[in-house]
Symmetry: C2
Subunit: 192 residues, 2 copies
């Protein structure tokens, strides 16, 4: 299997599509972001990266908090739109029904099945990219998606959440079939 | 749509499954990681997060470089296995055909359709999690997946790469259908 070298391309995939929310000059604003990931479960850590000059970035710098809202595929055109236009020119807070997080007052999107309230812990700037490492302080899930396990409410099945997925081929995708269980699929190698 | 609060849960999805490679005490080692994302295109930035005590972490701290190798679904059981066992006890370098990156000598996996050579720029530790912010210095793609655009070799279609996707429901998934194009789907809202 010969390899072709494409140069300095950050070809990590799949890319999650989220709407990052912040209060900018007192108004809710949302931008489409793919530069977002879990960075740990306990403590509950996430990282996002934004252009230093973006309108949402200003709000996060001012308030020290932000939200991550995860749209479903039925919100694709609105999510993409939030990546096309700037909050400097368009009031993107009016595109959604919003609510404020209990703990941080970061603006969240009611229509998204999952929303996370995040508090910034560390900021790292690399050239024009501003990376925010944050703790998740609350996770809001639309009630119809919540599962129960051992009498406790727990995270939804990914297929039910129907996320928008992106890749550097500049296409959006939907999630496919479940193919296995974590920490189980590899046990055959352990036993052999 | 009423919301249920699940507490401090970092419910970002989908999660990419990658194998992070590093040379530890002079031997290639690989571990399964979901805490990984693109953090910028130009400059080409990625972030990964590992437990500070893990074997691979030691190698990255020692060498300042690592690789990100992205398996396809036909490698699911091996990828999962790399997340179950530690390089302290198992020589995971023997599970794959490996090669060294041209620029960093980080060990890469031949069988993965995509591999990235990464050089650490910043390290942030939050409790026991160690986050490495890195620049991608080279991207290796198996030749059969490379596309051409305007006479230039470019990134593959995500569906052909057939990635392993994970979520906090502890299930693995495959990618589904393409549903749109970036910076196009939202144009209808712009024109209206």
């Amino acid at each position: 299997m010969s390899k072709v070298k494409l140069g300095a391309v950050p070809l990590v995939y799949p890319i999650p599509i989220v709407l990052v929310g912040a209060s900018v000059d007192g108004k809710p604003n949302f931008t489409e972001v793919g530069d977002c990931a879990v960075m740990g479960i306990k403590p509950a850590l996430v990282t996002i990266s934004l252009s230093a000059s973006h309108h949402t970035t200003k709000g996060i710098d001012e308030t020290g908090v932000f939200s991550i809202n995860i749209p479903s595929t039925n919100m694709l055109s609105l999510a993409d739109y939030c990546g096309i236009v700037s909050g400097r020119n368009v009031d993107k807070g009016t595109l959604f029904t919003t609510f404020l997080g209990d703990q941080t007052a970061a603006p969240l999107i009611q229509e998204c099945p999952v929303g996370l309230e995040c508090r910034v812990l560390e900021v790292v700037q690399v050239k024009h990219r501003r990376l925010f490492i944050a703790e998740v302080v609350e996770c809001y899930v639309s009630s119809q998606f919540v599962e129960s396990a051992n009498g406790k409410e727990t995270v939804p099945h990914l297929s039910k959440l129907d996320p928008i997925i992106y890749a550097l081929d500049n296409r959006y995708y939907r999630i496919g079939d479940a193919i296995g269980t974590g920490y189980q699929e590899g046990m055959s190698h352990k036993e052999s």
